[in-house]
Symmetry: D2
Subunit: 427 residues, 4 copies
């Protein structure tokens, strides 16, 4: 299903007066503080986040999974779901595919569907953490890090195949996340596992089309619980540098040990020109994959502060970043959850754009720590939502995406269309 | 030094028009959403946070300490500093004393000074984590948990003395924080250490005046790094219940293991009627004692959400709570730091007061998780600062406390008055 | 399949001389230090650990699962597997059932099979974290904590049914682990969720046969990632006390926040007479469910030190403890993994039995911290394995269980018997 | 004071027979498993750990410090204390100086004293985390990372001076640990702080004598509690590579976030040839600086397993490592504590030397995870202490260092010699 623009506009009309009032109030405040509201709106309008193809059905944990209904059962339905999100938010203008869950059967038709919905194809994702039916060698003991050359070769060949599918659709990057690791001390020769991984990544990199980039994702634990071959940003950076200029580290917000200062990692990687992209989610304990901004919104803001600073002071020539949500929706309607994530991301971005970096630099230069804090908190405590709404309004999207989603009873319609027992491929 | 009310009013006048505009905008929004702004302002006006007497000088770490100047060198100067904070914020209307650092030499004069500044005497704090000159037995191997009865008796006697000082000044509660613990496995008989602690607390409790309460503070580690006799809320609750009705647990925000859900502890303790009070600060790693709200403002809001709910649905008859800041100021001017803490606390409280609990309960009843999140985020994303400013304005305090503090160059005046090498007792 | 005693004895013979030499050396050392080796052997012989019925097949993570073959497909096969373990180790003399995965179709036959293998029926486990086919209400939004009385009633009825199955087989206890919790702030009314849980547990407790005990298990997170209704030992204790004397807390080693001092929790619960039992496993990050002793063997020893002390100084009349392994085997052969877990548990227990508690108490009394540490480390650094082997040898079990398991090619035989595609119910 | 060799020999005689018996038993076992006991003993004999000059007095925490007596008050007394340790253990053959706490007044005399006690001069340590009397610029806002060039220059000059002192005494390396960091978001421009640090380190490196190495130490937090300029091994490696071949990362066991896999960091750094050295201690929560091996002895063994493997398979030509204890002794006699640390380090090293790496590699090659675990656990569960004792015996040191230390009442003698109120410089 699709949402026709005029329906959104009808809904918007009901809130138009209230919004106008709020927007003008905030715009005036920002203007007084020296921010160019038009520039701000343009940046928010341009900011697009990819939706992963596996996040459109209800996810689960190792303890089980509950059902919802209306889940997309093939790639085209997934693209349609993202089309709904994009129509409502004007922020979800890309999809990130996962192979083999999303192998396109008719690439041209799929591309044309996506184009009609304003959806681009972001990074493609490989999967060497599960065995597929008919697969020759098992990844039980690792893929790119495996002690056996034949198994590494199989995993490399899979990645090359993933690139081929990506090329068909217009992707320009591949994300490599490895579940490879050890559950027990002694299981891995830690040095050799890393050397094998490096060599495998170099091999994949050699197959990368010249206009592509390769993102190397790190994660300290899960599904392996003693060690992981790429546990942290330091390892990811080391591997990226061993591959070449177009290999970059990818940061997933949930892939860190307790108390990690993620924004500092972002700053360091940008200083080196090696930050490739982001997997957004939120967490309290580990890789909880919760809705963005639902647990630590200030951290999200601080991360965006580094991103905005890094993009505007791009000394190391860091390439444009790939933005993606990577959350799991175990209890909420996935589309509602994604709407909330997109909103939280845009809020964090907008607040970061309203940091007065000149004033901040002066305060840092005089070691005026109190003032440094005031500047950030002022940017964070302001109600920035009216600016976001204005950006959506101007782009033909919804003033209140969630409200329209519910008023239109979209989930009900999806269930009517697809059935209540559908299961989306994914986790 | 004191700040005369008319000076504050002069400063306020400069911002009056701008404030009026902001306040009216926010008040109208709140009104439309069904909140009574006058009630809100009254609650914020009534909300008072105690300042600990040891937080008025620059603190340090085990690696050292830097200097600032103008630190208060006696109890009266400490009260004067808090008087400055209270004049500016109308939120710092109490002091929490630490014995033996703040033994009053002339209790009546001290009381009268405090009264003249609108400062009440909150909980008194004992110190059995350091040895004082001339002290008979050392607390090196523990105080209330000590294997030796004579040492426990000394520590109990100290606590009784602390109560006596508190009575002189009008305090109504004592906070017992124990550094007691073990650095190494085997050092303590864990069961006996806890039993001794329980018996010691019962003994102190037996000396508690009938209108007093005893707060038992927990902490998992530091300054002992293997075990602590009261490591968590469960132990604090157990001990409180073993003492009597007027013994309650005290929560210090920095005294938890990584990833602890503190707001849930608050909810549980209130459900049992056993939450005594709070030590506010913020932290990223451990008991970092940073400015409130500087690291995890959303967590602070969620905690206040539980507090507001608990106070308004007080089934277990939890007594009124004691609020105190317990931060350390290693690099910022302590008074500036405290102004920022007070502001962050008031913001969190005000936002929590603007949670629509009826709507939330309905959403919880229908397991509408998306909506539950929306309700909280709506309360948090709103700019509530104009309401706080209005509350301060009406109480004769400053629209912008930090701005006045700086414009008046108060630190400079304190240094002129007290010297640049002064050292405040404390950590 | 079964292992005939004479086969084990044949294997043992090959190692007999070497073992004799090692045993005599260690026994002499222990004797010289004042330990009664015969008593030690008897205690190790008596020590039996229950195997959970769901731990006999390969487990998985949310990212997938790999296969092994030969997994038991029904309750009788599960009991046979445990029979193998018990024959080899003389330590696995009990099974812990999970309902509905292990509903006995012919209870008498099942009992008789178990008896013939020396297997007792330990605690039965309820499951309200998954929906079963045909189940009227979903547990998606909680079971015993649910806002709706009908859903709570269904979960209570399930628990009562679990007790009924347990009674058929001779169990004397039920373990309640609740996945109930919230993924997002606001989702739960934290106070009410806890009150509902308390009332539900009281209701279940009222159905407990007089010679039964109820174990309440806590866990801070997973599968819910914001809050859990029974997050910690303090809550478990509170709930147990609200139910009655035969309600006790159960400790799973993996269910704690980072850096928790678990042995102190054990000591505290025993001091209160409220420690019901243990779920053994090991972990580096969270509820990793790794082989016992594979990551933190010293912690396991320290926990056993508290257990041994508590059992020998049972002031609060803590009932005998229920011991169970609760690990997941994602990559190792489950039976091999369990043999390693049983060995690690017995080693920790044996070492704890060799702590000189009298000497330790004296050292504690003089605050001789260095000596306290020496005493524990001496008990831990000694090679205690020959004593374990002797205990097994005397009981007719294997000197080297793993070695026999491999020499006999038991997994191969199980695959031949059951097939290579079998899947055991469980996680 | 010094311990005469013949006194040690007298004590040793009393235990000689018992030791002989134990040694022969273990040596025979190791021999049977294919280990060359003589080689083992030689390696243990050669293994020397530096004692930091600041670890010889009682340390403290920010909450205070207790006293002991007999602490060394100057550099020569510190060297004498280490001489005592070395005479007893034959493992403490080096000292690591801290400038300005240990500026030698008569370098030749100091060198000659050290030589006479068999003590070498290991890495020298700079201090830019405290302000010294008369220092021109304060390090309150950072040293090598400071926004102001003059302050960075002062810190660089200090480091150059530290190298000069080291040269006088025969050191060949400098360890740079920076407390530099931020307590609050916004305080630092994270990119610039890192760039300044890099440039400063390069400047120091340019002053390094050609036969010297520079160690860069990382730490995630404390004394700064938001960010640290060199928070992790990735940053340390990046900076080392930016300086030159003789710049290496230094690992302090307590400087990691919760749950970090430290042994993997060791493996990775050795694979890159960039591991410079170690600061040994132990911890449960953070940088607790407890006695080595007192909390996580298995982790210490796993780390040594990587070190032994890396040294024996030195593909990247990693230079020889600098070993140092960096613990704080808040309650135990520092010399006793150090004896326990040295013992624990040697045990871990000896156990790691008894890992059968060939067998392990085969097991890894067949993904026999169970066997991999068995191999490590077998090495760890064995009682290796008799081998250590034999190594000490042959070197003229004590069979039981702690026992002799106590029998001789050395602390009493030190107090008699130096007084009971002495305070050692340090933390």
């Amino acid at each position: 299903m699709r949402i026709e623009p005029n329906i959104i506009q009808q809904f918007n009309k009901q809130e138009a007066a209230k919004h106008r009032n709020q927007f003008e109030f905030v715009a005036e405040e920002l203007d007084r503080e020296g921010f160019d509201v038009e520039v701000l709106i343009q940046k928010l309008t341009d900011f697009q986040v990819a939706i992963p193809s596996w996040a459109l059905g209800l996810g689960g944990t190792r303890f089980g999974r509950f059902s919802l209904g209306g889940a997309p059962e093939n790639l085209d339905q997934k693209i349609e779901d993202i089309g709904l999100l994009h129509a409502l938010t004007n922020t979800a203008g890309a999809i990130s595919l996962h192979i083999p869950w999303d192998i396109p059967t008719d690439p041209e038709a799929t591309k044309s569907l996506a184009t009609s919905l304003g959806i681009a194809f972001d990074a493609v994702n490989s999967n060497t953490f599960q065995d597929q039916p008919g697969q020759k060698h098992s990844y039980k003991n690792g893929s790119l890090c495996n002690v056996h050359e034949t198994i590494r070769a199989q995993a490399i060949a899979h990645s090359v195949e993933v690139i081929a599918y990506g090329k068909m659709l217009g992707s320009k990057s591949i994300t490599v996340w490895l579940a490879d690791g050890a559950n027990f001390p002694g299981q891995h020769n830690l040095q050799k596992a890393l050397m094998h991984t490096e060599a495998s990544l170099q091999e994949i990199y050699s197959h990368l089309p010249p206009d592509w980039r390769m993102f190397i994702e790190y994660k300290p634990y899960e599904p392996n619980f003693y060690s992981t071959v790429i546990p942290d940003w330091g390892t990811a950076l080391m591997l990226a540098e061993a591959c070449g200029d177009r290999a970059l580290a990818l940061v997933d917000l949930g892939h860190h040990l307790p108390n990690t200062n993620i924004e500092q990692i972002v700053a360091t990687l940008m200083m080196r020109g090696r930050l490739g992209g982001f997997h957004f989610n939120d967490s309290k304990y580990g890789d909880d994959d919760l809705t963005c901004g639902s647990i630590k919104p200030y951290q999200l803001f601080l991360i965006f502060k580094e991103l905005v600073y890094g993009m505007e002071n791009n000394i190391a020539n860091n390439p444009p970043l790939a933005w993606m949500i990577d959350a799991s929706h175990n209890i909420k309607d996935p589309l509602e959850d994604l709407i909330q994530s997109l909103e939280a991301i845009q809020i964090a971005y907008a607040r970061a754009l309203c940091v007065d970096f000149n004033k901040l630099e002066q305060a840092q230069h005089t070691s005026d720590v109190t003032l440094c804090q005031e500047i950030l908190q002022n940017a964070f405590r302001r109600d920035i939502r009216p600016i976001l709404r204005e950006a959506r309004l101007r782009a033909g999207a919804a003033l209140s995406p969630l409200s329209i989603y519910r008023s239109m009873e979209i989930r009900k319609m999806l269930i009517a269309e697809r059935g209540s027992k559908t299961i989306a491929t994914g986790l």
